[in-house]
Amino acid sequence: MTDHTSAYDGLLGDDSAQWAFGQDFEDPLAGVDTTLAAGVDGAALAAYCLMLGDDALVHSHRLSQWASNAPDLEEDIALANIALDLLGQARLLLARAAAADPSVVPALPAGSPVPPEDALAFFRDDADFRNVRLVEGENGDFAVTTARLLLFSTHRLALLERLRDSVDPVLAAIAAKGVKEVAYHRDHAARWCVTLARGTEESRRRMRAGLDVVWPLHHELFRTHPVEATAAEQGFGVDPAGLAADVDVLLEQVLSVGGLDRPTVPPTGPLGRGAGRDGRHTEALGRMLAEMQVVARAHPTGRW
């Protein structure tokens, strides 16, 4: 098996080169040197990895909800592939966060075999999640999902392309692998966006409405959070404000091929003085996590 998204590879213990760090499921960073580069603050690196990891985890979760619900079998399979890619990125990023600063990992009962990346995914409350609000909303119809994937993947591709030069070798390798995946996600979303925009009257109406749903939360991706500022300063991360212009050009291209006007809906404001990166989320995240974490939390010393 050389499927680079096959989640079963780990069951066979085959040697496989397609994973950034092998595919040993027991420890995603097994054998990887996680020593911090000079000038990199572990706590800042961990906080930054949580942001990128939570974006991937939460968006993956939403996409996975399309399984058995997509418009056709081919699309069911495509969305699952994208969700699997993002889940893989999330796993590596959360593991990197835990290795960079073990204090971010929630405490579990003594003797719990739950690995740190799972403790981060399943035992943090919503206020500790650092994803942008864009990725956490309910799926809505296929147009909303398409619009969200377009905005998210365009941003993430621009980000990962730059992150390949991170001074943290682990982050750089995660980014290098992710670039290939996310380029595909962006292409998928852009093609559907144009198809729906130029399909039928109904699909065009829905595509516009879908863009209006997600557009107000788009801006948050480019607002520099103090953690991101530190990440850029120390050379392990990227200041997202610097991505806005490039991303905008690409989105404009897709909109124009689709004959779509740029949405004019106003941006969603912060909550108090914070937003997703500060743990200030929409109501949807709490509900999502209640479902996502229910089994894991019922068995804090369980083995899976």
Partner: protein, 98 residues
């Protein structure tokens, strides 16, 4: 004429070259609205986006096929379809076990 009911995406046949030096071989079929979507879907369905493989897609109704046995005069040329019976069959309603 695709033989597909109205609204259904046409059927495509998918051919994949697993690695350099090999022929493209038929791996299966899928539905897509157009050629580009067919290549894209083929990558997701049949190669899981394994890089380096080459994919051909062709609409099933664009394939001209020989008849099963051209030498036998009893078999009039069966036409130009990949499948000889592009009609729809009523399936009996009583379908017990599986």
């Amino acid at each position: 004429m695709s033989g597909a009911p109205q609204g259904e995406w046409p059927l495509y046949e998918v051919f994949v070259r697993g690695k350099r030096g090999l022929n493209h071989v038929h791996v299966g079929s899928l539905h897509a609205a157009d050629d580009r979507m067919a290549v894209h879907n083929a990558r997701d369905v049949y190669t899981r986006r394994n890089e380096g493989v080459s994919i051909w897609v062709v609409r099933a109704d664009a394939i001209t096929a020989s008849s099963p046995d051209e030498k036998d005069p009893l078999f009039a040329p069966a036409g130009d379809k990949v499948y000889r019976h592009p009609t729809f069959y009523d399936i009996p309603d009583d379908v017990p076990h599986m």
